[in-house]
Symmetry: C2
Subunit: 288 residues, 2 copies
């Protein structure tokens, strides 16, 4: 496994596979890798000749400096996990390498990124699309892997890829959960003591919405209320948003007659967690 800190090192590491036109998969991450990330890595290793994992805590996508400061990092452990999973190249650039002082170009998706986390975190998706566009140009993968926990992120990245004609296939993999249902997230490591238990209201609220939906409930107001009740039963959990949106357009829905997404974000102290579930009348899987 090759470890690269600079774009030049990454280009050098990929020179040969590129010349041989070998298939290349990229798993963009912010490190602190967990089973969610590793499911993407395994899929990439399985279907590409070469797998690159990028590890970069991208300051441009943090709307709160405190969240950035506290974002968990464990590069040593990440490298061990990647090596073991058969990753070929880990690209972990510095902030200076990615954003020179006079950096001034942004990639911005303006429709799918407006609601949900986009409304709650101004500038977040602009940071995501910009860094992903950069990584695509540096690594030039044929496929890139994203997790469905960040459903909106995957939808925004897929739209960017289509709109800007990037020659990359976006593969979205299902949410990986802890045994008790909590969606895996690097931020989960920040949950201390009773917070970890209380965090379960997030996945439970979404599971409850899906259960009611399967039982025939089609009233958006009822489903949202049920989710809010569930989340508010926990003392230290603050609701950021709870919404049911069209799974394609991510616009708020009035009638549940198209594939929908129940999505929620909560704060537990200063740790923000998100989760979602598809509510799909056709029972076919919908990914962004």
């Amino acid at each position: 496994m090759i470890f690269c800190r600079t774009k030049a090192e990454a280009s050098k590491a990929l020179e040969k596979p590129r010349a041989q036109a070998r298939s290349l998969g990229l798993v963009p991450t912010m490190g602190a890798l967990h089973e969610g990330h590793m499911s993407l890595v395994r899929r990439s290793v399985a279907e590409n000749d070469v797998t690159v994992v990028s590890v970069f805590v991208n300051p441009a996508q943090f709307d709160e400096s405190r969240d950035l400061e506290k974002y968990p990092q464990d590069l040593r452990q990440d490298l061990l996990l990647c090596e073991k999973a058969g990753v070929d190249v880990v690209f972990a650039p510095t902030v200076e390498e990615m954003y020179p002082e006079d950096f001034s170009t942004w990639v911005e998706e303006t429709q799918l990124s407006r609601g949900l986390c986009g409304a709650a975190r101004p500038g977040h998706f602009r940071g995501v699309t910009t860094v992903v566009a950069k990584l695509f140009n540096i690594i030039r993968p044929g496929r890139a892997y994203f997790g469905a926990k960040d459903f909106q992120q995957a939808a925004v990245v897929r739209r960017m890829t289509r709109d800007l004609d990037m020659p990359v296939e976006i593969v979205v993999m299902p949410i990986v959960r802890e045994g008790d249902g909590l969606a895996m997230s690097s931020r989960n490591s920040r949950l201390q003591g009773p917070s970890r238990e209380e965090a379960l209201v997030l996945s439970r609220a979404l599971a409850r919405a899906e259960e009611l939906y399967r039982a025939g409930q089609r009233d958006v107001g009822v489903l949202v209320r049920e989710m809010l009740d569930c989340i508010r039963s926990a003392q230290h959990v603050q609701v950021d948003y709870v919404e049911i949106v069209d799974a394609e357009s991510l616009e708020p829905l009035e009638h549940l007659n198209v594939p929908a997404l129940a999505a929620a974000a909560v704060y537990i102290g200063d740790t923000r967690l998100i989760d979602n579930r598809l509510l799909n009348p056709t029972e076919e899987g919908t990914t962004p």
Copy 2:
């Protein structure tokens, strides 16, 4: 020469050269080709195995619908000129092919694009950077060619390419002028009767600034006044802007102790023309 109307056709035409890793030059144009464009084409043909010319009147970069409607088009003649110059592929997509109805992703440079034409034409450079990013992803050239008449455009595209790590070398070629000094532009064909003669005040004003500069004049105010006097001597010419800016940052200059750019834009009727000249203390050529 292969003529492509769709992205799929372009990909097919470029499949073989890509597989053989042949060098590829792209000359992005809005058609109505003149000697300025052809100087870029000839340079690309000379230094690449394969040259692609794109012909696309990009609605996203027009801030005035009337300018878009009146923009000259002559695809038949463009194809003849390209064929004769040894171009391999002409890519002339429709607007629908480039911008699907729910298109929502933009590439925006936020520093170099603020002043000059960026201030005069809101959204113009966002349209330019977005379409150039798309063309780079569709064609995937190793080099792309731009003319120095659109000095700010070349600087903005070069910055975008650096910031987003696009693997493309930006080549900027000198302004090509008519015998009487008028910078070549597709819009020149819209100048009727006395307008064509009056348009000369633009290049003359810039030549006058350079002359005074070479003679030692370092007062920005004096140079701008001289240019304004020259342009205003023509009855039907309206000044859009006349500025002297830092040739690197494109910020307004107070002291002429660094490479500078004298740049001007005028309206003759509803035809907008631009031109520029470098004022370079080191006498080395500076391109954006």
